[in-house]
């Protein structure tokens, strides 16, 4: 009896894992197809736009770590995205080294994430949403008023760097190669986060979301788990932010506004909360929509807003949330068929 339950659970987990992997693989395939088409057409704009979508998708993925796994809605994740972008821009202007910029961002983001996290994870539910919203606003104003950080003008003239990757070197000025680099980077982040969520710590995170008061009985402190998630979300967003000045050659305080945070949340909801891969689909969808709608009407906000509300009402689990169960059923059916045949063979 216990054995069969364990088997069933393992099978359904396996089906879940496979369907997520398929969805991720489809995303990569989709991105590569796009890259092939863009390459043939010799396109710069769409490459850069898609790279930006990937970067923002990475930020949305970080938001999903908090919202989909820890159950904490952040309305101020632009803070960490902007932090990464500014640290990277400042480093690159001094020393145009990719690894130095990423390393510095990692250190600063860990530190700031820890400091902010210690205070913020005390806040629950809507308090957390409001306090992250508030902090991002305050930091935005502070950067806007700090002459050393370029003030309202931001920092321009970030050099286009060459990125040494062992055997080959990728230039940020080549839109195609930088797109591929960003794709690999974001997918590595995805794989890492997906793996992280399967470790005991990741499972505890879900336990905290489902019933925080029971977690201490299991012998764990919920706040440590939440803090780990918060710091992780900060690092992921900051690392993605660090790629931004390499792409565009500038940073400005507007990166820190509520627009960025709000867009990240919209991407998570459209793409599918709690799936990690969904936000990447959401980012592709939102960026594409904005670019297309923005060309034929100045009232694009209305359309995005309406789409977002419709999604919240009718498709609260988003694109991935709608597709995943189907994939899961398909693979679960295949798996049970397989195990049945195996059993028959055993007899």
């Amino acid at each position: 009896m216990g054995d069969s339950v364990r088997l069933a659970v393992a099978a359904s987990e396996r089906a879940e894992r496979i369907s997520r992997a398929v969805l991720a693989a489809l995303f990569v395939l989709f991105a590569l197809t796009f890259a092939a088409v863009a390459l043939v057409r010799g396109d710069t704009f769409f490459f850069r736009l898609a790279t930006e979508a990937l970067i923002l998708g990475g930020v949305a993925m970080a938001v999903d770590v908090l919202l989909g796994y820890a159950g904490l809605l952040t309305l101020g994740h632009a803070l960490f995205f902007g932090l990464g972008a500014y640290v990277s821009a400042l480093v690159l202007k001094e020393t145009p080294s990719f690894w130095l910029a990423m390393g510095a961002t990692l250190c600063v983001a860990t530190l700031v994430g820890l400091l902010a996290g210690v205070v913020f994870i005390r806040a629950r539910g809507v308090y957390f949403a409001l306090i992250t919203f508030g902090l991002a606003q305050v930091v935005f104003k502070a950067v806007y008023n700090t002459r050393e950080l370029g003030g309202s003008d931001g920092i321009i003239g970030v050099p286009q760097i060459d990125i040494p990757l062992g055997l080959l070197t990728v230039s940020a000025s080549s839109p195609g190669s930088f797109f591929l680099l960003t794709l690999i980077f974001v997918m590595l982040l995805y794989c890492f986060l997906a793996w992280w969520m399967r470790t005991p710590l990741g499972r505890l995170l879900v336990a905290v979301r489902v019933n925080e008061s029971r977690v201490p009985f299991l012998g764990f402190a919920p706040w440590r788990v939440k803090l780990a998630a918060f710091v992780m979300a900060a690092i992921v967003a900051a690392l993605c932010g660090a790629l931004y000045p390499m792409l565009r050659g500038l940073v400005s305080p507007e990166l820190l506004t509520f627009q960025t945070s709000g867009n990240a949340v919209i991407m998570v909801i459209l793409g599918g909360v709690g799936t990690l891969i969904g936000p990447l689909y959401g980012a592709a969808l939102l960026t594409g929509l904005k670019s297309v709608i923005g060309t034929w009407t100045e009232h694009h906000l209305m359309i995005i807003g309406a789409l977002f509300m419709l999604s919240v009402i009718f498709l609260p689990k988003g694109f991935a949330g709608a597709v995943l169960p189907r994939l899961r059923r398909y693979f679960a059916g295949e798996a049970s068929n397989a195990s049945l045949t195996k059993k028959d063979a055993g007899h």
Binding site: L67, G71, L73, V119, R122, A123, G125, V126, Y127, A129, L130, I131, F133, G134, L135, Q137, V138, K141, A142, N145, G262, V265, I269, H299, L301, M302, I304, G305, A306, F308, M309, V312, I313, P316
Partner: protein
């Protein structure tokens, strides 16, 4: 002699620097409290963070501008706009909030829905009224001197009217049958329902009431702060801060926190660059969350 000069200086600084600062802080405080009241009442009963509260405030102001353009008197607007806004609020609750109200993550879903609504509404203002600001004429022009402090008459009116509204809201929630029903529903909705309280309608009614308050603030504040599409963002951060410090869902807390925090902001801007007075207020909020996460006072219906 020397002491006398000192004394005079002190009196003078009290009269000319602190006095006006405190009086103006009071007028701003009233504006913030009016915004925070609606927010906190909606949260107290429905557990909904209304992200479009600022846009409802703006809608109130735009309605007032439109009605004034049709020749409607300001004082009549003061009554008419909240009524219109209540209808809009009731409709919003029934068609939007109720849709996701019974799902597990209603905190987050309602927050997201109202966030989407805010995006759309702001764009609608621009579509309907253009991007440029409107400035309704002040219905009570001129200024008066009180103890040597110059204050525009309309601000004196705002302080008085704000106080009256706060008292009226208080009476309505704590001294009437209607208020008792609301408090009962906030305390335990199943119990209230079994006692014959029409919980669904109380929810919608409360939401409508909160929205009407936002609209009323819009009418009242438009002559001071002018009317433009993004005006909804003006008070929202401060109002959220006030609601958190005062205790989510507490009327008393919102009033105290609103008046205190605006005084902190107002007086601190004499000593530090005003740009940093906002982070200061925000710092107080963070401190409060650490030391006293439930806020100054308890929730609606909870004592």
């Amino acid at each position: 002699m020397h002491g006398g000069a000192c004394m005079n200086e002190l009196l003078e600084s009290l009269q000319f620097i602190y006095g006006p600062q405190i009086a103006n802080g009071l007028a701003i405080g009233m504006a913030v409290v009016l915004m925070a009241l609606g927010l906190t009442i909606i949260f107290g009963l429905l557990d909904v963070i209304n992200m479009s509260h600022g846009e409802f405030y703006a809608l109130g102001a735009y309605l007032a501008v439109t009605l004034a353009g049709q020749g409607v008197n300001f004082w009549f607007c003061l009554v008419l706009v909240p009524l219109l806004m209540a209808a809009i609020g009731y409709f919003t609750e029934r068609t939007l909030i109720q849709r996701v109200f019974h799902s597990k993550d209603r905190h987050i879903l309602t927050l997201l829905l109202t966030f989407g609504l805010a995006i759309i509404t702001e764009d609608l203002f621009k579509l309907g009224y253009g991007p440029n600001p409107y400035k309704p004429e002040s219905p009570i022009p001129g200024a008066s001197e009180l103890f040597g402090i110059m204050l525009p008459n309309y601000r004196v009116f705002l302080i008085v009217a704000g106080s009256c509204i706060i008292v009226a809201v208080w009476m309505l929630v704590y001294r009437t049958r209607l208020g008792a029903m609301v408090r009962a529903a906030a305390w335990d909705k199943h119990m209230a329902a079994s006692l014959g309280v029409p919980v669904e309608r109380v929810y919608a009614g409360t939401f409508a009431f909160g929205v009407a308050l936002a609209g009323l603030s819009g009418v009242l504040l438009a002559p001071i702060y002018s009317v433009f599409p993004t005006m909804g963002k003006d008070f929202i951060l401060m109002a959220f801060t006030v609601v958190i410090v005062g205790g989510m869902g507490s009327i008393k807390g919102a009033v105290i926190a609103g008046l205190l925090l605006t005084q902190v902001q107002s007086i601190s801007s004499l000593f530090i660059s005003p740009v940093w007075s906002e982070p200061l207020v925000f710092g107080i909020m963070v401190l409060f969350l650490i030391v006293r996460p439930q806020g100054l006072a308890g929730r609606l219906g909870h004592g």
